[in-house]
Each structure stands twice: as structure tokens, then as C-alpha cells.
Amino acid sequence: MLTTRRGAAKSLLDFRDVAMTFPDGTVALTGVDLTVNRGEFVTVVGPSGCGKSTLLRIASGLETASSGTVELNTDRIGYVFQDATLLPWRSVQSNVELLAELHGTPRAQRAVKAKEAIELVGLTGFEKYLPRALSGGMRMRTSLARSLTLDPEIFLFDEPFGALDEIARERLNDELIKLFTEKQFAGLFITHSVSEAVYLSTRVVVMSGRPGNIVDTFEVPFEMPRDPEIRFTAEFAHLIGEVSHALRGGHN
């Protein structure tokens, strides 16, 4: 039963009329309907404090919604935090192995998994480095590799590149798209950067300020994998304009 559901269900994540009120009375989310299907990369943009991160925390089970239903049709979830959350005493290799280790995967097997993941994010040769010797971008890659070892069907990203400089961020965006096309996971990506949202995703969801709810949705027509040059096209600029406009509307 479970397998058929998992195999057959097109949607991986389904929010229906989800609301979140914190114990202190803060209303973080109201009436959120959101579906992430296989093959989709959905980005959520919104002003800071609008509850975008709460959305991810509910999806992953870190928080429970106050009302509404949340359906997650897989148990292979990747979660990428705002900071790389690496353990500073562990090498890149050992950090990437951590999640498999927590699941009790035998040593030899997780070493192979980690090797693959490290290669996918382009960190081969840095396995023995400690996090402190890495740049912010490389730490994020390590964090990505760590989640990749779980072969996630859906990846949840909580503003992962927010702390990086523009160049590192754009390069990681390109690599994320490459991973998305190769590994076929679905994505739910939180960001406050409109251009990042449009560039990365197949669908952009705009949230209003607190209490957060979805005010607009844009399908992104550009094909995957994205050509970095589309950033300089008129269509791209136009879509950014529309999303920004919706975002401003949500502010008022």
C-alpha cells in the first residue's frame, strides 16, 4: 500500500490550508496551499519574517502545523540549513558520512556513498580538510554532499546561499541545477533573492509579510538545465520584474 502510494503519487509534498500560530500568539502562516510534484523545483520568496522558513520546518517535521494537513509522500528528505552546520572536528569526508552513519549504514558502504557525493559537488581532493580550512562556498558544498548521501526524493533548502557572495552564490546555483537535472529530486527552496528564485526554479511562489500566505505563483518557462546566459535576457528581466511587483504588493 505504502509503496504504491509512494510510487504512484505525483505530488511529493502537499500543504492544504496550513496555518501556524506559535505559542506566544504570533501568527506565522495562514491558509497556505502548496504542492511540490516530482520533477519540480519550487522556490518561495517573501519578505523576511514572513514564515517561509516555518513552511520548511513544518514540511520536515521539525514543527507541527497548528491546523491544516501536510502530506509528505517520501521518507527520503534532504534538508539544507541556512548555515552549513558542519561538525568542526570532522573532516569533509567524515562530515559527509554523518547522516549515513546516523542511519547505521556500514562503514565501507557509507565511504563509497560519501565519495560519490563529494565528487558530485566538486570537492574531490578536499576529503581530509577540516571545515575551518574551507571557504563559505565549499562548506555549503560539503553540506549539500552530506544530504546527497541520503538519495533524497525531495530537497528542502532554507536560504542556503544567503551568506555567500554573489559569485559563489551564482556558481552554486548552477551546480544545484546540474544536480537537480542529474539526480531528479524535487526541490522546495526558500530565498529572499528574486533573481535566485527565478533562475533556479520551475515555479516561483510569492508570500506576503506576516502572517505569511501565498499571494502569487509564477511558472518559469526557461528550460532545464538553465543556460547561465538567460540571466541577461529580456524575458528573464521581465519575469523578475513581475515577481518583484507581486512581492511589493504583498508588503502593503
Binding site: 521539525l62 561538525l87 546516523l102 574551507l134 562556498g137
Partner: protein
């Protein structure tokens, strides 16, 4: 990711850091390390001589024997052996006390880190333990535990325990929320989180606590000596004896030896901390 674009990302930053180290800390050799403290030592010895030989009249010089008179104490073999044996006894008490304080302190803190209510129940008593005027309860410890090794060790533990408890607890609680959630998302057990996340995170703080407690346990052993003279008394008893006999050169020599012992312990734990966590933690 191609090979060429890696340097931008990491190697560039790293070599920049190396260059900065070289510029920021020019190597003047050992002189820059040992020079300043040796200058202070010279100044202290100078003032000491001034007080002992110029300010004090000859018949009052027993109040502050000149440095060379103190050093001459070590020429006497009997005194040298007395001080050395007493120091070893003190060291045995201090090290035993420290080991017990570390074990109790770490376990106590781990217990408190497991639940808020345990912390609320037990932390006040750690604070009270630290606030007890230890000299006031030392006679009680004598009544209860006798006047030899055990009693001296207990005094050490009482004095050295608090920094271990508070440092370990602080360390265990300094785990990032997102790191904890990383483990929770994988359904990690409390034990796994403790051993793979909290305890390693706490190690720098635990080692910092050890260094403080080590110094305190030497003080504790010497205080214990003053009160408990049975068994194999240590350097504290010797200091008390020399004091009562007005043997001030011997008194000074014993005090200097115990201070040097404290320095050795302090340096040792600094070294141990760098060895244990220096690779991934900035040990100041």
C-alpha cells in the same frame, strides 16, 4: 565544477590566510617569547634585593631573605629531599583530587544537560558548593574522614569541582540549534546526540575547565596539608612547619617550589587542550 575555478573558492582564501599569518606575526625568534617575562623576573628580583639588603637592617633580614639565600636552601641535601618528597605527596593528592573532580563534574553536567528540571534541581547546589567557605568546613572533613590522604583529597575535590561542572554544562549547551536539528531530522537518539554532537562540542570548554580546576586542586592539596598532618603530609605541612620555626629561607623556597608546580600543571593542561582540540578550535 571545473578544476580551474576552485582556486577562487578555497585555495585562494587559504593562501591569503597563510600570507597574513606571516605578515601579522613576524618571527623574531625566542627573544620575543621569553624576553618580556624574563624582564619582569629581573625587575622582581631587583626589587627583592633592594628590600632585603638596602631597606631591611641586617638583624631584621630574616623577614625577607635575599634571593641567593633562598636558593642556597637547595644546597642542603636534607632540606632538598624534604621539599622534594613533600612536593610529590602534594602532587599525588592534587592529581587524585583533580581526577575525581573531573569525573564527578563531567557526569554532573551531563546529567543536568539532559533535562531542564534536572538542571534546575542540581545547579543551585553546584553554586552553593562553590560558595561554602572551604576553610570553615575543613575541620568537619577531618572529623568525618580522618586526617590523612582521603581528607586532603576531598578538600581538593571540593575546591576543584565547580569549574568542571559549570564549564562542561556551558560547553554541552553551546550546541547550535540547527546542528541539533540536523541530528533530530535523522531520528538520532539522545545518546547519539550526546556522544556525537554535544560532548565533542563541549570538549574545548571541558579542557578550559580542567586547566582552572588543576590550579585549584594544587591550592586544595596545600590547604589540606595545613589541617591534616597525618599519613604523608605534603608541602603545605612543610610550609606550616618552616613558618612556625621562622625558617624563612626554607619557607620561601617551599612556596616557590609549590608555585612552580602550579605553573607546570597549568602549562601541561594548556598543552593537552591544544593537542586535543587545537586542530579544529581556536585555542587562545
Amino acid at each position: 565544477m571545473s578544476v580551474q575555478d576552485q582556486p577562487n573558492d578555497a585555495i585562494g582564501t587559504e593562501s591569503a590566510a597563510l600570507v597574513q599569518t606571516r605578515v601579522g606575526r613576524p618571527d623574531f625568534g625566542r627573544a620575543s617569547i621569553w624576553g618580556p617575562p624574563l624582564a619582569v623576573l629581573a625587575l622582581v628580583i631587583g626589587v627583592w634585593y633592594l628590600a632585603a639588603l638596602v631597606i631591611l637592617e641586617p638583624d631584621r633580614r630574616f623577614l625577607l631573605p635575599a634571593p641567593h639565600v633562598v636558593l642556597a636552601v637547595f644546597a642542603n641535601e636534607n632540606t632538598r629531599v624534604d621539599i622534594w618528597v613533600a612536593l610529590l605527596n602534594t602532587a599525588a593528592v592534587a592529581i587524585t583530587g583533580l581526577a575525581i573532580a573531573i569525573a564527578i563534574g563531567v557526569v554532573w553536567a551531563i546529567g543536568m544537560s539532559q533535562a531542564r528540571w534536572v538542571e534546575r534541581s542540581l545547579f543551585p547546589y553546584a553554586v552553593i558548593l562553590q560558595s561554602i567557605p572551604i576553610l570553615a568546613v575543613v575541620p568537619l572533613i577531618g572529623f568525618w574522614f580522618g586526617y590523612d590522604f582521603a581528607a586532603r583529597t576531598i578538600v581538593c575535590v571540593l575546591i576543584a569541582l565547580f569549574p568542571m561542572v559549570s564549564n562542561t554544562l556551558f560547553g554541552l549547551q553551546s550546541v547550535d540549534r540547527s546542528q541539533r536539528e540536523l541530528f533530530l531530522l535523522q531520528g538520532a537518539s539522545r545518546w547519539t546526540i550526546l556522544t556525537k554532537l554535544e560532548f565533542p562540542t563541549a570538549l574545548p570548554a571541558i579542557f578550559a575547565g580542567m586547566r582552572i580546576s588543576a590550579g585549584l586542586s594544587v591550592v586544595g592539596a596545600i590547604v589540606g596539608d595545613f589541617f591534616f598532618q597525618r599519613g604523608t603530609p605534603g608541602i603545605g605541612s612543610l610550609i606550616a612547619k618552616y613558618g612556625s620555626r621562622l625558617q624563612s629561607p626554607e619557607l620561601f623556597a617551599s612556596v616557590i617550589v609549590s608555585a612552580l608546580f602550579g605553573v607546570v600543571i597549568f602549562v601541561f593542561f594548556g598543552w593537552l587542550r591544544r593537542r586535543a582540540v587545537g586542530k579544529w578550535y581556536d585555542v587562545s
